[in-house]
Homo-oligomer: 410 residues x 2
């Protein structure tokens, strides 16, 4: 936007908040979603179910054979042996998906496939391997006890039982449990929408040729990527205007989303304009965090909508998205806390950190060591050529070569 | 399908393969995708780039101010101090997105915003905090060295440089790197398609009321979920027919996908039919794995397409999908190996395992202990009510209460 028209309008950030305090404030402003929507079961994976799912049916809905073989009256098989078989008369054959039509009497059996309903009168199944059929006569070589090889009605789920609780994360088996009780679709919490606005007159969308003084928008894409990967819907907004009334109007509109993220512009003047706009129609919660990179970050609220003003430098913007936006988004989406994969490795070279600022420091894993990959906050390659990052606490100045560090993989 | 019309057609599984050997055979049959497709950058997260991305432009494309302040000739500031400022004449003001029009001479400066191009003649920036402007006179309170607070052209990426290599996973910063060089879309490897076929006459799709003897299809949904979560596209096929010629035709058609997964039917007769069909037009690679649950698993190939015949019981089917289909799918999708989150906890109760079979045993985490959650292979609640699973090696019979186990979270 503007190159500050003098010192009066430039308010450099002097007070900064420790990262943990900033994160606490961000999480405090994160209200878990209450909006819900109905999605087909085939598209429900990764979503959060909004209400308990209660079975209207028994699963399985009938006693069924758990093995291929012969449904019998268990007592008829007592004493059977390989050289002393019991002989039963086969009265019917039941395939899966069919229903037995004949009730078993003593001395009788029904040939049955795994999953087929047990005939009335039968209380066990003899495995086919333990039998020999010749005509209607079936020789039984082993005794079975009552209920052996029978899957009992409602053994998996009983009608009236709650198979999932509100708030459960829908993984494969839980989607399966909904299918088991006949679900076709499911009510889930809506994904938080995130309005992403670029600022900065130098920023243009990839696709057009660069004119002198212009660079391509990076932050829009990195924020979109983080949002999509952590349960949100990224909504692209037009670039933010560079005068206060229009910016206020733009923020008002963007605040219809669940979260607003400004990204782009990096100068003190631009930050001030966003600050003024938030103050005019909302509340600034903090301004500046003791992190490196990423210090000049504004966080506030317009109505109930949290608003981030991310620093313009791509690495600063993205590292703050990982450290602040991601946890907020997941909490609002009701997703479990994110745990990045961690690789512990010795640091290949000494790293000197800025005292008093929590440092997000990118590294590559090479030959089992963590090799510093950070160039400058303005360089997206500081992150894109890295495998992950280490965090250096505010009170630590130096991490020596050879020290073991926990690398959080991207 | 059929309830085996006698022992002759029933071939119970007697030879089983250890899990690691089965997995090796499955991975051997997994050819990484060579098909590619073009996707917009906004939808590229999580995909694998198919060719190196080479920059056509320098990023940044010009020397730029890294701070708000004044572009100067560094030498003009040497010796400046708070009580001994140097005074320079401001000749221009440059906003971001603009281009300086005046070349700096000694004794002159240009007011400049972060990100704006440096004027010719200038070689450093004095931060606004270290200056004081009155009219055109700017007092400079600190010396700067050449290139201080200047972001140099191509410092991030130089034209001709490869910013990503073929096969790189597109995370947020890598999508950002593509945006930085002006990318609008990107060529990525296509996702493997997985044809999912249900078998079993008792299986019906959720949505219709159950008739006697019927149950709802679960495996179709659990497999779909695993496929979608690990880089594949699940394609629903009509239920597999229950006669050999039609089944052969169905497999031929399904084999146009990159992977075929049969799921559902559980009887020996059904397995045999799938086996016969695969043998008729392809090759059976193995039949039966020494795992529990999940032993009766068929794996083969039709043309170059791997074909799984998963056991019908929901837990058996899904645990095998985790142990075999998931690694195959990720290898074909060129995704990094999956590492589930692991929680180490003491086992709450003794678990007795089947000797000679690798056991996949579900548990819940309760009060920091791993509580056995497994009911029966037929019960989807064995998994849906669990938080994860432990694996008990084939040679281990018993895991005692209190022993520490690694729980792989779902």
């Amino acid at each position: 936007m503007s190159a500050g028209s003098g010192n009066a309008s430039m308010r450099p950030i002097r007070e900064t908040l420790p990262l943990d305090e900033a994160l606490a404030l961000v999480l405090e402003a994160a209200s878990p979603m209450t909006r819900t929507e109905r999605v087909p079961l085939r598209e429900a994976t990764g979503r959060i179910i909004a209400a308990a799912a209660v079975a209207a049916v028994d699963v399985p809905p009938f006693d069924r054979a758990a093995m291929d073989g012969f449904a019998v009256v268990a007592e008829d098989t007592f004493g059977a042996g390989r050289y002393d078989p019991k002989i039963l008369r086969c009265i019917e054959k039941v395939y899966t998906g069919e229903v037995p039509t004949k009730r078993l009497a003593r001395g009788e059996c029904t040939e049955i496939a795994t999953g087929a309903p047990m005939p009335d009168g039968a209380d066990a199944v003899v495995m086919v391997e333990e039998s020999d059929k010749a005509g209607d006569d079936v020789r039984i070589f082993t005794p079975v006890y009552p209920r052996q090889h029978v899957g009992r009605r409602a053994a998996d789920i009983a009608a009236g039982q709650s198979v999932l609780a509100a708030g459960d994360f829908l993984n494969a088996s839980r989607v399966g449990a909904l299918a088991a009780i006949g679900g076709v679709d499911v009510e889930v919490f809506a994904k938080p929408t995130v309005a992403i606005l670029s600022t900065g007159n130098e920023i243009i969308e990839p696709g057009s040729p660069l004119r002198p003084g212009q660079i391509y928008d990076i932050n829009h894409f990195t924020i979109t990527s983080v949002v999509q990967s952590h349960g949100g819907i990224a909504i692209a907004y037009p670039p933010a205007p560079d005068n206060l009334p229009d910016l206020v109007a733009a923020i008002r509109q963007a605040a219809e989303a669940d979260i607003v993220v400004f990204s782009g512009g990096s100068s003190v003047g631009e930050r001030d304009l966003i600050l003024d706009a938030i103050q005019q129609i909302g509340e600034v919660i903090f301004l500046g965090i003791a992190v490196k990179p990423g210090k000049p970050t504004v966080f506030g609220r317009v109505g109930t909508t949290p608003v981030f003003g991310m620093p313009g430098y791509p690495t600063s913007c993205l590292s703050n998205a990982y450290m602040l936006l991601l946890p907020m988004l997941r909490r609002m989406a009701r997703l479990p806390e994110f745990r990045p994969q961690i690789v512990t490795a010795p640091l290949a070279r000494r790293v000197v950190s800025t005292t008093g600022r929590h440092q997000f420091y990118t590294v590559r894993i090479e030959n089992g060591t963590a090799v510093p990959a950070f160039k400058a906050s303005g360089d997206i390659t500081s992150m894109s050529l890295a495998d992950g990052y280490i965090e250096i606490p505010a009170q630590t100045d130096i991490v020596e070569a050879g020290e073991l560090v926990d690398v959080k993989l991207f």
